[in-house]
Subunit: 156 residues, 6 copies
């Protein structure tokens, strides 16, 4: 969903920003929509936490990660689609590991697996959710059975 994904080799990215907004006058319905808009516009990640705000208000802390050059695009969406008049942010460093994508053949079709590599060794293997979900729905098997099958087929 990310418009310009980071490269696949191991690298340190110093150009990342975390944006935060506190919201106590917006409904959950709208927040579900806002998350999608932010991803579509190139946010690297977006997530909410429940917070306790003044006057006994359950509120939401919206957090998002984006590259510095995307700040203005994110602000634009936050102003248009949420109820905030103020947006705060600060820089952070992201260390991304080398990743590669392999293809695993299951009895129901192929699944992409994202692998994390360090010192030439695979330390992580994550079956792509969308592939597994498509198989689970098409073949009417439990999702967890699809994952289990993929894990078995990987030489971890």
């Amino acid at each position: 969903m990310v418009s310009r994904p980071p490269p696949n080799h191991e690298h340190i990215d110093e150009e990342m920003i975390k944006i935060e907004v506190n919201l106590d006058d917006i409904s959950g319905e709208w927040l579900g929509y806002v998350m999608d808009k932010l991803f579509e516009a190139g946010a690297n990640d977006v997530y909410y936490s429940a917070i306790y705000m003044k006057k006994n208000r359950p509120g939401i802390l919206l957090q998002l990660l984006c590259s510095r050059e995307n700040i203005e695009k994110m602000k634009e969406i936050l102003l248009k689609e949420t109820t905030t008049l103020g947006i705060r942010y600060y820089p952070l460093t992201v260390h991304r590991m080398e990743r590669r994508f392999i293809n695993v053949q299951t009895e129901w079709g192929s699944v992409i697996v994202k692998q994390g590599i360090q010192h030439g060794e695979v330390f992580q293997s994550s079956p792509e959710y969308e592939d597994c979900k498509a198989i689970a729905q098409k073949h009417k098997v439990p999702l967890k059975k699809v994952y289990a099958e993929v894990w078995k087929l990987i030489d971890q």
Copy 2:
């Protein structure tokens, strides 16, 4: 804040009800207000939890405890002040311990302490928050210092 408080002797109350409402289209601002209204109308307790609802919506689960005879009053407020069209509830049993209220004299004034009694013995002593708060504000002492002082003066 409760309109008709339960009696102070130990008893089992079989006439209590828990009411629940899921909310995904209301703001935190309104929810702060609703809580007060429900207490004023005689709810024994009201509390919110953050929940994950469909379509990526952060929602709120409103729960309240009231006696069976108060159900209609509670429903009325929930319909008027929240955005729900459905209200669910079920009975529960409440075991309330014997409680008594004693007066503790601190250097800044008196504080009511609520005590829990079982088999004639005090197993719990809770200084009243509003009393301690009033002292903390008037005498400009930290709230925790007021509590500490009260605890010292109680023969626990």
Copy 3:
């Protein structure tokens, strides 16, 4: 999304059940999937809360509401798609208000509005999210502007 929706007139439903499952050995990825499956199979509502479980584990409490006749279908999905070996449930009463659906014409197209009725009076008007979302996306207007427009056009 509900397979057999409750009727639109005001009624008390005594045939509802709440099912609960505690989960500490399942990933968030799978839980997103499970929620959809339960709705598709006829759950009236499904929601998660974050809970603190033993051994310092962040866990999830899955709750769902369904009619008594759907219990077996729900159990089947929970066993197949989650990691639980035990499912608990209890009956509850649901009071549902009269609801009717009206059509509101905005400058961008029509939106269904769900209204709550009590004693012949409208006490609640909720624009349908999917209609508003479709307009927001097609006409590239902020979602909140679509809602604001609909609210203006309703004689609340």
Copy 4:
């Protein structure tokens, strides 16, 4: 509640600080009190999140935003009123939009509405909660009805 509010024109504020404290040995009663004290002393915002801490402890993460010159005042309160011995903080940037305040006449009295302005255009209109609450209580109308009325009267 903020002692020295930021200006109303659009501006970037580079002098803001976020302070954080983790708390696992304080009661909810005291935390309700601490929030008020921090706002009174000039915090721009204060909010809590529930966190999972070591040894199976549900804890609270207290976060607050203040200007750099207020750090010492905030620390003082945190040490006096909470149980922490350590306070952490870091700078952040706040982009605040132009805001103006208009007066809306409802059938029950006037309500201040805070509006957000960008490129000379209103993109946000928030009725002041305290005004709406006062009307709701005095005229015994649901709070949501007051908001709905105000929204209708604004030329958004």
Copy 5:
């Protein structure tokens, strides 16, 4: 940790109780301790949720499941170890699936795996956490590697 565990064959248990307590005047430190005490005394499960209580208080909802005959034991601990003066509860039904325990030999030692059985078929396999943890610590391998190994060795 449960004193009298339920039987391993599939069964419906109608003798289960859920106990609930709201807490806003107790610290996280004590709550970590209380959970262990309740498990030791025979609770089938104990878990906390963060709740929003009156007067801006972050509170904790303690929930526990136990058999009807254990209610008094649980109450005793709740009164002694928490700050509550009232305890509420209601009955629920638990449907437990057939479970059996198999032994899986890994390169580092054996691991018990709990399996769920329905219609004679294994639909669930959960490696015992304590076994995997002991191996991970003794052999200095990542815990997830131990689980992955066990899953591979099971004929799921």
Copy 6:
């Protein structure tokens, strides 16, 4: 549990780092384990919050505080023991108050109390949890009674 604790006199530490990881494909069981590993390796604090992630996923935000020189050790554990391929971090300032440890003699044995000192004055006294817990278990007294006794014996 911290490998190299900060000094006991009041100081400002500019060499602290906060590391964050978002997790939506890991179970609660593993997260309980990871927390211990991070503390053992010298993290100053580790804590989780429940977050709402894309595709309706309940996720966990892992946060930890460590000194700059420990970053690599922490990354190593996060890669080995969690499912992440990316780790983000940023510097923060920690103001730690002067602390000293005194010994309090109760009727059941001695308890260490950590005290916070400012301008030569004690503003905080925290009985050590592990000492109180050991007494509570050995002498079969409620934990809260042990704390109450220690507080009484301290000249606060």
